[in-house]
């Protein structure tokens, strides 16, 4: 749809080494997360009472060591990455779809509809998230899917507000007035003219929401509300590692390092995307 703008964006992204490094690191982590469990002789769930608390070592095949149940930490960390990224991306997508629709309609239509929609957002903001997640899980059981739905259901609020703000300014643009003068209806207007012009903003916020969601999921898992054993997310691994911190610090450090790296890289990408899509920004001068 807008080949020109994305090509320019890509060029700008390529221009900065830190962005490309972040992208490569992320790509490596994703590749490892996908491939390592497929080729490893160990799986994430099988306990082995003989291999408990092995420190990381090349010999013995456990590169990252084993945990309290003798499970290979490397495979568990890779699964953790898979789960965290999956939750992050899926929940981010859900929140983007809801948030963008909500914000674009509220912003474009304006008037009482806008007021009603944004008051709803305000009310939902006051909802304490953790108890809400607990209630959802109690009602619908601790199904894995519940985790993304719960997170998606609370994260769309920010995006809705931002999208509404941007839609308000898009609405004042001459080309919107030109399309109205042409006779384009409201629904078509939002779909054809407003949404594409939000795409840059949405790409940036979607990217920047993922780290937040991953951390939120990590918090939930840390509290025991996220994925349940034997599945692991980086958050639950950090929780387990915290228990063993004194004696076997590697159980905490390794998953935490992966979590931090993923979040840093995503933040870097999100920032770089935002700069690359800003028509006034000069690359190479920050």
């Amino acid at each position: 749809m807008s080949g020109g703008l994305w090509q320019q964006c890509w060029r700008r992204l390529r221009a900065r080494p830190s962005t490309m490094i972040a992208t490569w690191i992320l790509a490596l982590v994703v590749a490892a997360a996908l491939l390592v469990p497929m080729f490893s002789p160990f799986d994430y769930a099988t306990p082995s009472w003989t291999q408990v608390f092995h420190a990381p070592a090349f010999a013995g095949g456990h590169l990252f060591g084993t945990d309290s149940l003798g499970r290979d930490l490397l495979v568990r960390v890779m699964w953790g990455c898979r789960i965290s990224l999956l939750v992050g991306i899926a929940a981010s997508l859900i929140s983007v779809v809801i948030g963008v629709s909500w914000g674009a309609v509220a912003g474009y239509v304006g008037g009482r509809v806008d007021s009603a929609m944004m008051r709803t957002v305000d009310v939902l903001y006051t909802l304490p998230f953790i108890p809400f997640v607990i209630v959802l899980e109690v009602l619908f059981g601790r199904h894995f899917l519940m985790v993304f739905i719960a997170i998606g259901a609370v994260s769309w609020l920010d995006i809705a507000r931002i999208v509404r703000g941007q839609t308000l300014s898009i609405r004042e643009q001459d080309y919107i007035e030109a399309a109205r003068a042409l006779g384009v209806g409201t629904r078509t207007m939002i779909w054809r003219h407003v949404l594409p012009n939000l795409s840059g903003l949405v790409a940036v916020y979607a990217t920047l929401t993922i780290p937040g969601i991953i951390l939120f999921e990590a918090l939930l898992s840390f509290l025991g509300l996220g994925v349940h054993a034997p599945l692991a997310s980086l958050g639950s691994l950090v929780a387990e590692g915290t228990n063993e911190m004194q004696a076997n610090p590697y159980l905490l450090i390794i998953p935490a390092a992966f979590l931090a790296t993923i979040i840093l890289c995503l933040n870097r990408l999100g920032d770089a995307l935002r700069d690359a899509l800003d028509p006034r920004h000069e690359p190479g001068h920050d």
Binding site: Q8, R11, R12, E282, P283, H285
Partner: protein, 349 residues
């Protein structure tokens, strides 16, 4: 801002005039690198501004006229590479330390920007903004500075100056804001006044008043003026000499009467012909210059105007240098015919 100075070529723009040049630009270049493209906003400009004169610089988008002004005061956008020489009373300004440029700005060389609404801080009163620079540069106390500000406001024909000092920019009309900008520029009694499209954003009746004001101020104070605009109509009553710019280069430099009466460069001639006028009978068809203003990142090898020129010739693949003609004019064109020959070439298109 990276500055690369080269040895200055010996160009002599010997106009038959003994007045000392206040400002001398030699081979001035301003280049930007953006998204892997090289934009030569200003490409080797030689100009002089003399005492008490008004030099007009006229051009369209991409001509480099605004970039020229900004470069003079070291106000180019970050990322601009400057080369050449800018001498103010013999002192080199290009690459001068920031402190020196800040001392000169406002005090000796003042600038009036195009859009009065964005050039004024909406959160400060007019009085504060007027006195801000003057107090530092002239070491004036608050009361003295305000008195001087009030005096200047009445010079620029704003009524009730004392009250206006307490107003905020949004409380004034566009014409008044522009006058405030002019007053601000004059606060420190500068020697040189730079004007960047000062009347473009104004209605035609207000424009006439502001131009009249500028003329009066010039007569009274003798300040040298560099007037940058795209509006040839406005310049006619203001400028002594006019430099026509195209694609970052000066293509013609002549006295106002010579330029309007007998333009020699095809671009200048084409531009003048395409202006619809109230004082001449209605043409059957309005003449126009075909094509569009050049893309600065993608200029042709020789003369930048060649793609649109009715007199284009194979020698135009060589860039024409700005030469001085016997009558004192300067022209950058390979064609050496008379103004009527140029006119005939346009009529033939």
């Amino acid at each position: 801002m990276r500055c690369v100075t080269r040895s200055i070529p010996a160009t002599s723009l010997a106009m038959t005039d003994a007045r000392e040049p206040l400002l001398q630009l030699r081979s001035l270049g301003v280049t930007y690198h953006r998204d892997a493209r090289v934009l030569r906003a200003v490409d080797g400009v030689d100009l002089e501004l003399r005492e008490r004169e008004c030099l007009g610089v006229v051009g369209e988008s991409g001509s480099g006229k605004s970039q020229l002004l900004l470069a003079l005061l070291g106000l180019s956008a970050p990322g601009a590479q400057l080369r050449g020489s800018i001498r103010y009373r013999g002192e080199e300004l290009l690459g001068a330390p920031r402190a020196r440029l800040e001392a000169i700005r406002g005090r000796r060389i003042a600038i009036v920007f195009q859009d009065p609404l964005s050039a004024l801080n909406p959160f400060l009163t007019i009085g504060t903004q007027l006195t801000e620079a003057a107090r530092r540069a002239l070491q004036l106390g608050r009361r003295e500075a305000l008195a001087r500000a009030a005096e200047l406001l009445s010079t620029v024909q704003i009524d009730a100056p004392a009250q206006r000092l307490r107003c905020y920019p949004h409380e004034l009309s566009g014409g008044m804001r522009q006058r405030v900008l002019i007053a601000m520029a004059l606060m420190c009694e500068p020697e040189i006044l730079l004007l960047d499209e000062p009347t473009t954003a104004l209605d035609v009746t207000v424009q006439a008043q502001v131009l009249d004001l500028l003329r009066t101020l010039r007569e009274r104070s003798g300040v040298a003026t560099l007037f940058v605009t795209h509006d040839l109509g406005a310049l006619a009553s203001m400028a002594d000499r006019i430099a026509v710019m195209y694609a970052g280069r000066v293509v013609e430099l002549a006295s106002a009467t010579a330029l309007y009466g007998a333009p020699l460069h095809p671009y200048a001639a084409g531009l003048l012909r395409s202006l619809p006028r109230l004082d001449l009978p209605l043409p059957a068809r309005l003449p126009s210059i075909p094509g569009q203003p050049p893309d600065l990142a993608d200029l042709p090898a020789g003369c930048a105007f060649a793609p649109r020129c009715p007199l284009v010739h194979e020698r135009c693949t060589q860039r024409p240098e700005l030469r001085v003609l016997p009558d004192g004019r300067a022209l950058a064109c390979h064609f050496t015919g008379s103004t009527s020959a140029v006119d005939a070439a346009w009529t033939g298109t």
